[in-house]
């Protein structure tokens, strides 16, 4: 048994936000059939949103570009899905939420409380926000304020998901910690774009979007490494994990647990596969506990 910010998990592998996270049933499937030891929902907001026009996701050579545009049925619409996930998944369910400002974040968090999420994950990388047009997530003051506000209205752990599109991710991580976050999650997608050269059109309906998958793993590992060195709260790793070796690498960089997003595309049971791989690795290397991996690379000098 593995305890992460008070959540009990069999292994430290978690479904990332926005992947098969729109319905309660799909969240259950990822847990039961896929072996995820906790699941994060699609990011939920105040109002139903259809998201950007398609193409909203495309697969590249080395990853995926997406510009979903935060489609979601609002917290009212999502409550029934959350309840299904809680009832049937058998694992902790983390509600990912977003908002344009402190008040919206609070509204969504409170709105989802009846669904009894095991934790909240704050998606502070939403581009529609207060604060001089910059994304919430690149503004440490806003991140701290939002974290503190949500902490105030909920009585479950709060994770803050960080964007890598900043000069220094540790300053944002520190802000989340100061706001009372129980953990940070790194990383969300990298700003990216692809153009269809036959027509000249940007491919994504939203013209540009976020890069995920294999391409971003080295960036994620570096962010996790730096956050681990700076913060006292746990760092949850995400970005480009597609096999158990990647998960081990992230944990050695400092991740207390690992989320998997894009790689679920290939095989839903990637979580079981990672868990099995880690177990065999621990055995081969005679590590007594998976926790020994966390931050190991910091000691190797």
């Amino acid at each position: 048994m593995y305890v992460l910010t008070g959540l009990k998990m069999k292994n430290p592998t978690i479904l990332a936000a926005g992947i098969l996270g729109t319905t309660g049933a799909s969240l259950c499937r990822v847990a039961l059939e896929g072996g995820a030891n906790a699941v994060v929902t699609k990011s939920i907001g105040c109002m139903p949103k259809k998201g950007h026009p398609n193409p909203s996701i495309i697969q590249l050579d080395c990853g995926f570009l997406n510009a979903m545009g935060l489609p979601n049925p609002s917290y009212q619409g999502f409550l029934q899905e959350l309840k299904i996930a809680k009832k049937d998944s058998g694992v902790p369910v983390i509600a990912s939420i977003f908002g344009g400002n402190v008040v919206e974040f609070m509204e969504v968090a409170e709105g989802l409380l009846p669904g009894k999420p095991d934790a909240f994950e704050l998606n502070v990388s939403c581009p529609h926000s207060e604060g001089y047009g910059a994304a919430v997530g690149s503004n440490p003051c806003l991140v701290e304020a939002i974290t503190a506000a949500v902490k105030d209205v909920v009585n479950v752990p709060v994770w803050v998901k960080l964007t890598p599109n900043v000069s220094d991710i540790t300053s944002i991580g520190t802000a989340a910690e100061s706001g009372g976050a129980d953990a940070v999650v790194a990383i969300n997608t990298l700003k990216g774009m692809a153009i269809d050269i036959e027509s000249g059109y940007p491919i994504l309906g939203n013209r540009s979007g976020g890069l995920s998958g294999k391409a971003v793993k080295p960036v994620a590992v570096k962010c996790i490494y730096d956050l681990y060195a700076t913060l006292k709260i746990p760092v949850i790793g995400v970005g480009g994990v597609s096999c158990w070796q990647d998960a081990v690498e992230m944990m050695m960089a400092g991740a207390a647990a690992v989320q998997v997003g894009s790689a679920v595309y290939e095989r839903i049971d990637i979580f079981s596969e990672i868990n099995t791989g880690i177990k065999a690795f621990l055995q081969r290397k005679s590590y007594s506990d998976v926790k020994k991996l966390i931050g190991l690379s910091h000691e190797m000098v």
Partner: protein, 259 residues
């Protein structure tokens, strides 16, 4: 994959609101029932079944399909695919029943031809609102026997495909393949279930697709959590038992909407 560039070689008017677009790509390995994501550049990208290895057949319903209807031969659109799981092909000695409603005939016509090619006996129930909306009648006729139903009686039986279905001995068929509007499909589903042959049937579902490749989850159905774009769009009747099929679907935001 990035969208391929599909240049339109020929456009065929199938009815006043349905056109077939032949393009310069050939998906030799496509399974009938698989779909492609068709990108009307500057507008939107939507799923379309392949009506041949090199064509899609489009019913004009909204913005993207209207944009496609503006395209001329020589124009092009983006195309990703083929994706998803198609209909299971019958073997030589099997007898199959195809039930196609409206533009649902699009993915079923290559299925009829493939089944005919392996030597199985093909019967088709082809339904539409009226005679001039019947699609691919000739292709189905080429593959075997065709029963026709039209809502207004302008051709074949006046009524629905189920009215034809009621009169058939379903135990004679090894496989039943259905594609059409969900209300039609669910009537067929109930009838087939009552006749205790649900395990022979396969239905091609429509749900709102964003990624089309199994990542985003917008097309997942209850209670299985199956992705229509990846484990589907073709599902066996048994997979749809105790599901949302015929009851509700989800819109682009993920909200449940009654069928």
């Amino acid at each position: 994959m990035l969208p391929l560039n599909a240049t339109i070689l020929q456009i065929t008017e199938e009815s006043h609101s349905v056109r077939t677009f032949f393009f310069d790509l050939h998906f030799e390995t496509m399974e009938p029932g698989q779909f492609v994501m068709v990108w009307g550049r500057g507008v939107n990208e939507v799923p379309m079944g392949l009506s041949r290895i090199n064509s899609i057949t489009v019913l004009k319903v909204g913005e993207t399909t209207s944009k496609l209807f503006e395209l001329k031969e020589g124009d092009s659109f983006g195309l990703r695919g083929p994706f998803g799981r198609g209909f299971s092909l019958p073997s030589e000695n099997e007898k199959i029943l195809i039930i196609a409603g409206g533009v649902g005939a699009a993915p079923l016509s290559p299925y009829a031809e493939a089944a005919y090619a392996v030597g199985s006996e093909v019967h088709t129930i082809l339904g539409a609102r009226s005679a001039d909306e019947l699609i691919f009648e000739k292709r189905f006729l080429g593959a075997g026997k065709v029963y026709i139903s039209t809502d207004d009686g302008s051709k074949g039986i006046k009524g629905f495909v189920t009215d034809v279905l009621k009169g058939l001995d379903l135990s004679a068929y090894d496989k039943i393949a259905i594609c059409g509007k969900e209300l039609m499909m669910v009537s067929v589903f109930r009838l087939i279930k009552d006749r205790k042959v649900l395990e022979k049937a396969e239905f091609s579902l429509h749900r709102y697709f964003k990624c089309g490749i199994g990542i985003c989850g917008s097309c997942c159905i209850d209670r299985s959590g199956f992705r229509v774009c990846k484990e589907g769009p073709v599902f066996s009747g048994m997979q749809l038992l105790d599901s949302e099929f015929g009851r509700y679907e989800r819109d682009a935001s993920g909200r449940r909407v009654q069928i």
